[in-house]
């Protein structure tokens, strides 16, 4: 379990037309929500490749929020359904890596739903807080040069 000082880092992808505006509205309406989410605006939730989510999780994020327009209201027609399918497929896959479903959340918000979007963020922050830090170990970088001294195999195996 996490200690009370843990503040998760959450990367939030919002689409330009609805969910980003919802976040914007929450801001202008001075609705309070936890500051843990770093929002990245993309044109549409259909732009979110699972690569973005995996990159965020593997490089320090504790969770990823994907937000789009309500089903049927995507400004590029059907792309948020694509986001929905990718999200479900990604969740199935992430389970095998030991990553809890609450860390990758998909939500819909219209431009008028500032308060609702703020609630979604608060709910997600609480859930990820309860899960604790993800702390995914960094990928080993290609070593620039061979080490000067290589131990003999007999020493390695002992």
């Amino acid at each position: 379990m996490s200690d009370s000082t843990f503040e998760p880092v959450i990367i939030g992808f919002t689409c330009n037309w609805c969910s980003y505006r919802a976040a914007d509205l929450a801001g202008t309406a001075r609705i309070k929500y936890p500051p843990n989410v770093r929002l990245i605006r993309v044109m549409c939730s259909g732009r979110i490749d699972p690569t973005f989510v995996l990159k965020a999780l593997s490089e320090g994020a504790d969770g990823v929020l994907i937000a789009g327009c309500h089903p049927g209201e995507c400004h590029y027609l059907e792309q948020n359904y694509k986001a929905l399918r990718r999200h479900r497929l990604l969740q199935k896959t992430l389970a095998q890596f030991g990553i809890e479903p609450a860390r990758v959340r998909l939500t819909w918000a219209s431009a008028a739903e500032g308060a609702l979007f703020a609630e979604e963020i608060a709910a997600m922050v609480n859930e990820v807080k309860a899960l604790g830090p993800l702390n995914w170990p960094a990928r080993p970088l290609p070593v620039a040069t061979a080490p000067a001294e290589i131990p003999k195999l007999s020493e390695v195996a002992a």
Binding site: D49, P50, T51, V53, L54, K55, L57, S58, P71, E78, Y81, K82, L84, R85, R86, R88, L89, L90, K92, T93, Q96, F97, G98, I99, W136, P137, R139, P140, L141, P142, V143, A144, T145, A146, P147, I150, P151, K152, L153, S154, V156, A157, A158
Partner: protein, 329 residues
């Protein structure tokens, strides 16, 4: 004049890469005519201490196949890096972890459990391999298994990459030709870091099957399908095909004969994570918009991580299961 030295080494691998090299038929004589084979355990007797005694960078080119699973693999990777001017990550294991890399979905204890205690294993005394074991003659040692599989370029600097499980023999022959030209001063080496013996697009790009409807309402395993036609895209016929996310170079060998591509040439150019790209491609063609209907189609993939990352798990963004990674020093 003494010939330049050639080496080939297998780490965690199946030996298929060695077979693929021998499969270049009489071309292997060109290898022998132009190189002094200094070290190649699969083909000739050699001792590690002979390699240790060689001067640094005295081997012109080493083809390194296999991934890094044990301390011995890591030692040989570092040793051969030091002894070689050109180190080539040869085959899927060295480049992306390949099938052995799928073990990264399990922590070490589960791997041992599976290998030594499974219902089909007879091991009444519950023996497990030990790093060191006392016998009357002295101490016997085995190189310990590391927490997760790593690829060659996660351990040492790599000069070139040759993908494939195994690399296609005609591609190997072409690489050998270039190498011989370089030795004779007739050609330049390709830029460092280049991918050799493969194409610059996707398997789909080379596949002659017809893409038409671009949606699927069901995913099945090949044995569950009543019949496959020989002309249409396999993905559209309901088989998970890795062609959209996989690098070209094999002339779409598997779809040509009615088997889906399983991704052995690794991530297509510009793709950071082969599995993520494949997820994108599959999710895009699923013909369902309601969560339950979507799941019904996706349930046709019982092992998503194993299917999307069959060859590239160890080199993916996440690399391994969380529990397995936690054991890394």
């Amino acid at each position: 004049m003494s010939k330049p030295k050639f080496a080939m080494y297998w780490a965690a691998s199946c030996g298929g890469c060695e077979i693929a090299v021998l499969n270049i038929d009489e071309k292997v004589l060109d290898l022998d005519a132009n190189f002094d084979v200094a070290f190649w355990p699969a083909a000739m007797d050699a001792k590690y201490k002979d390699v240790e005694a060689m001067e640094d960078e005295s081997i012109l080119v080493t083809l390194f196949n296999g991934s890094i699973r044990t301390d011995e693999n890591e030692h040989l990777a570092k040793l051969l890096r030091r002894k070689s001017k050109i180190l080539v990550a040869f085959g899927s294991c060295a480049n992306e972890g390949c099938i052995p890399g799928l073990a990264n979905l399990s922590p070490r204890e589960q791997i041992f459990e599976r290998a030594y205690e499974s219902p089909s294993t007879e091991n009444p005394n519950h023996l497990r391999p030990q790093a060191a074991c006392q016998v009357p003659e002295g101490t016997l040692t085995l190189p310990p298994l590391q927490a997760v599989i790593r690829t060659l370029d996660q351990v040492v600097e790599v000069d070139y990459h040759v993908p494939g499980c195994p690399p296609e023999s005609h591609q190997i022959a072409a690489i050998l030709d270039v190498l011989i030209q370089v030795v004779k001063g007739e050609a330049e080496l390709p830029p460092k870091g280049a991918v050799l013996g493969a194409g610059n697009s996707t398997v789909c790009d080379e596949c002659a099957r017809k893409r038409d409807v671009k949606v699927i309402d069901k995913l099945s395993r090949i044995q569950e399908l009543p019949q496959l036609n020989t002309t249409d895209c396999l993905l559209e016929q309901g088989l998970l095909c890795a062609g959209p996310a996989t690098r070209s170079g094999c002339n779409s060998r598997c779809p040509n004969v009615g088997a889906p591509c399983i991704g052995c040439y690794g991530a297509a150019p510009g793709v950071l994570d082969q599995g993520a790209r494949l997820m994108t491609a599959i999710a895009s063609v699923v013909d369902a918009n309601e969560p339950e209907a979507i799941d019904r189609v996706l349930n046709g993939i019982p092992d998503p991580a194993g299917s999307f990352y069959r060859f590239s798990l160890a080199h993916s963004l996440l690399r391994a299961n969380r529990e397995a990674l936690a054991e890394e020093p």
